[in-house]
């Protein structure tokens, strides 16, 4: 399905000169998606990392039309932008949202659900770095089980976050959305292809891309892509699509890499004990039983 590759993608930059942390996975996702969508993309970004690093007057870092929305209002502003441009007679544009995990799964989920329900012609990309990173690493609804954040400390009594991640991909799919997908910046060609595909589908499109935050995850800035691959390779994340009422798995590791190795190389999981790791591994296996029984596999 990949019709955009590292060779064919635009050399033009649309998100450039911002002040994101070194190794920022979110900025990589935004940069790559805008290269696919091109100069007629209109991006909407809520309060959060990408707006904080890209929109500081007079240092404005998007070379396509871009606007910050309220924290809760990514999807509703996308709706307005799309309706407004259509009302003004524009046809050749893409309204695309880039919101973090908190902006999507917590405060923005109502507006997102409303937009999907209306089937507004927008692309909503959630760059998931698994906590409120902009405010200093607080737990969100997408923080994984066991992760230490500044509001889920790892102590003797509680080992970090006690709840698993919400599954936003399946929540979006449950609306019978025209297109939803999961991705990871560790598998960039897959993400790029999904953004391209989304841009060719009418109605609401939702892409959930894992975008590690070295600062919040406790890994080195040059490990972003590796750790974003490893979360997929260890089976703790998966690459899939939802289209025409069916789930498709795009990538099936022959054998999962070690969950423990994935966790232990990150500062946020260093405190986990054997029991915690057993719980995480079990939940992964349960998830894969479901995926294997319910998703079609697009590979060979």
């Amino acid at each position: 399905m990949a019709n955009k590759t590292a060779e064919s993608i635009s050399r033009e930059e649309f998100f450039y000169g911002h002040k994101a942390c070194a190794g920022c996975g979110g900025s990589l996702a935004v940069r790559a998606a805008l290269k696919v969508l091109g100069r007629n993309a209109v991006s909407v970004l809520p309060a959060g990392c990408m707006s904080a690093v890209g929109f500081n007057f007079p240092q404005l870092c998007f070379s396509n039309n871009s606007i910050i929305s309220t924290f809760a209002g990514t999807a509703s502003m996308l709706t307005g932008v799309e309706a407004g441009l259509r009302a003004k007679g524009y046809k050749d544009f893409t309204a695309v949202g880039f919101a973090g995990d908190g902006g999507t799964a917590d405060i923005g989920i109502q507006a997102l659900s409303g937009a999907i329900d209306r089937n507004d012609n927008i692309i909503y990309i959630c760059y998931d770095n698994e906590a409120y990173m902009n405010t200093g690493i607080q737990k969100s609804g997408l923080t994984p089980f066991g992760a230490k954040t500044t509001t889920t400390p790892a102590g003797r009594n509680i080992h970090g976050n006690i709840r698993p991640k919400k599954n936003m991909f399946e929540i979006a799919a449950a609306h019978d959305i025209p297109y939803a997908a999961t991705a990871s910046v560790g598998y960039l060609p897959d993400f790029i292809a999904k953004v391209k595909k989304a841009s060719q589908i009418q109605g609401t499109k939702y892409i959930h891309v894992i975008a590690p935050c070295p600062t919040g995850w406790g890994v080195a800035p040059d490990e972003t892509v590796d750790i974003a691959r490893e979360v997929v390779d260890s089976g703790l994340w998966y690459l899939a699509e939802y289209e025409n009422g069916r789930f498709t798995l795009n990538h099936k590791p022959k054998e999962f890499t070690s969950v423990e190795a994935y966790l232990k190389k990150q500062g946020r999981f260093k405190h986990l004990d054997d029991e915690d790791i057993r719980v995480i591994t079990e939940s992964r296996d349960k998830k894969w039983d479901y995926i294997n029984s319910s998703f079609e596999y697009s590979g060979k």
């Binding site: 929109f55 809760a72 502003m77 709706t79 441009l85 544009f93 109502q110 209306r118």
Partner: protein, 389 residues
């Protein structure tokens, strides 16, 4: 021109049809709902060509309108009470972004206790949000405001969102005969929205950005100037409106028998009619009573109030609001206007109509008696004075 028997809500919807908004975001809340119902019918029958968006909350209603305005489209939404409070964040956002959205607010009590009836605690709590705030008295004024609001808001010197307030039920649900302007005349009065404050594919923009301590206040100062600029624009707009439609409005305030009045009652919204009637009655008994109706709370009519009250012996402010622990917001604003003008006149604050409680002619006569007695302080109609030391 045609005549129709319409409620305040329906009249406002007629005005909006004539204003040709391009995007309407709609969410129901009593007593505003009839506006969005009528607009949906107009879109359905083709008499209004607009994108009608069924948003899932008031926060999204205004967020969507901001997005549409950023796309260069004329945007409309409507709300009331809890809905206005729920979207409060977006009020400041729209104003700071200088998006000239028009929103009708059906003035309604705020919970708790729950209450669907009219008072003005919802909109008056948002005076600082950066919006122009107008208060209509009757259905005709509501319709005319709907048409004038876009012309005022979209003026380049103003570029500020506009909140048109209609008293819940008393105005939104009361039927009157209303003159509906011709479409050709309305189009002549209100041309399509043109702005540079929009998405531009030839010269892409970064909009709604952050501005740090060095520059932030400059944007805020400009925002303030924009609302102030509305004073002159309102006057120009009403003049042009009168030339085309034959109805002349009177700017930020409307005076009734104030020229020689000893005692002036200041109020806003639909209660003004009963106040004028009471003034007539008192005049027939030789009491020099007058009424000053505030039509716009923002920009605030400082000069008009000082001018009208200059020779008065006393005044009262009747409002459907209380800022708990102090006094009504309108009273605070009026006193500030008098202080700035160097006027020292006795004046009392009369809080009435909360949760839709009826304000009777006898209540208003009582208020004038209080004013004539030279009483100041805060008085709750039907309860009495409160110590506001």
């Amino acid at each position: 021109m045609s005549r129709k028997f319409l409620s305040g809500n329906e009249a406002f919807a007629e005005g909006i049809r004539l204003a040709r908004p391009e995007v309407i975001s709609a969410y129901p809340i009593t007593p505003q709902t009839i506006v969005v119902e009528r607009l949906s019918e107009m879109v359905e029958d083709g008499s209004l060509k607009a994108e009608y968006v069924h948003v899932e909350s008031e926060h999204s209603a205004l967020s969507c309108a901001i997005g549409a305005s950023a796309a260069g489209a004329r945007a409309f939404t409507a709300t009331s009470s809890q809905g206005l409070l729920y979207m409060a964040e977006c009020l400041y956002y729209a104003a700071g972004g200088r998006f000239p959205i028009v929103m009708m607010n059906a003035d309604r009590s705020t919970a708790l206790p729950w209450n669907i009836y009219g008072d003005q605690r919802d909109s008056l709590s948002q005076l600082d949000s950066g919006w122009i705030q107008a208060y209509a008295e009757n259905a005709q004024e509501a319709l005319d405001l709907a048409l004038m609001s876009y012309k005022i808001a979209e003026n380049k010197a103003v570029s500020t969102p506009f909140m048109a307030n209609l008293d819940g039920f008393v105005l939104t649900h009361t039927y009157e005969t209303v003159e509906i302007p011709d479409r050709e005349q309305a189009d002549r009065f209100l041309p399509p929205y043109e702005t540079d404050n929009r998405i531009d594919f030839d010269n892409p923009k970064n909009m709604a950005f952050s501005a740090g301590p060095d520059t932030n206040y400059i944007f805020k100062y400009r925002e303030h100037e924009g609302v102030l600029a509305a004073k002159a624009v309102i006057a120009e707009t009403e003049k042009e409106f009168a030339e085309i439609f034959g109805r002349q409005y009177t700017g930020l305030t409307e005076s009734y028998l104030t020229e020689d009045a000893d005692y002036i009652l200041i109020t806003l919204g639909s209660i003004a009619g009963l106040c004028r009637e009471t003034a007539d009655k008192l005049r027939s008994r030789g009491v020099k009573a007058g009424v000053l109706r505030i039509r716009y709370m923002r920009p605030f009519p400082n000069e008009e109030i000082a001018r009208e009250l200059k020779n008065a012996k006393g005044y009262g402010v009747l409002e459907k609001d209380i800022s708990f622990g102090n006094e009504g917001a309108v009273y605070t604003n009026v006193n500030s206007a008098l202080k700035k003008a160097g006027l020292t006149i006795n004046g009392g604050n009369f809080i009435g109509g909360l949760g839709g409680r009826n304000i009777s002619a006898a209540d208003i006569e009582d208020i004038f008696n209080h004013i004539a007695d030279g009483k100041d302080g805060v008085h709750f109609l039907g309860i009495g004075g409160s110590d506001n030391g």
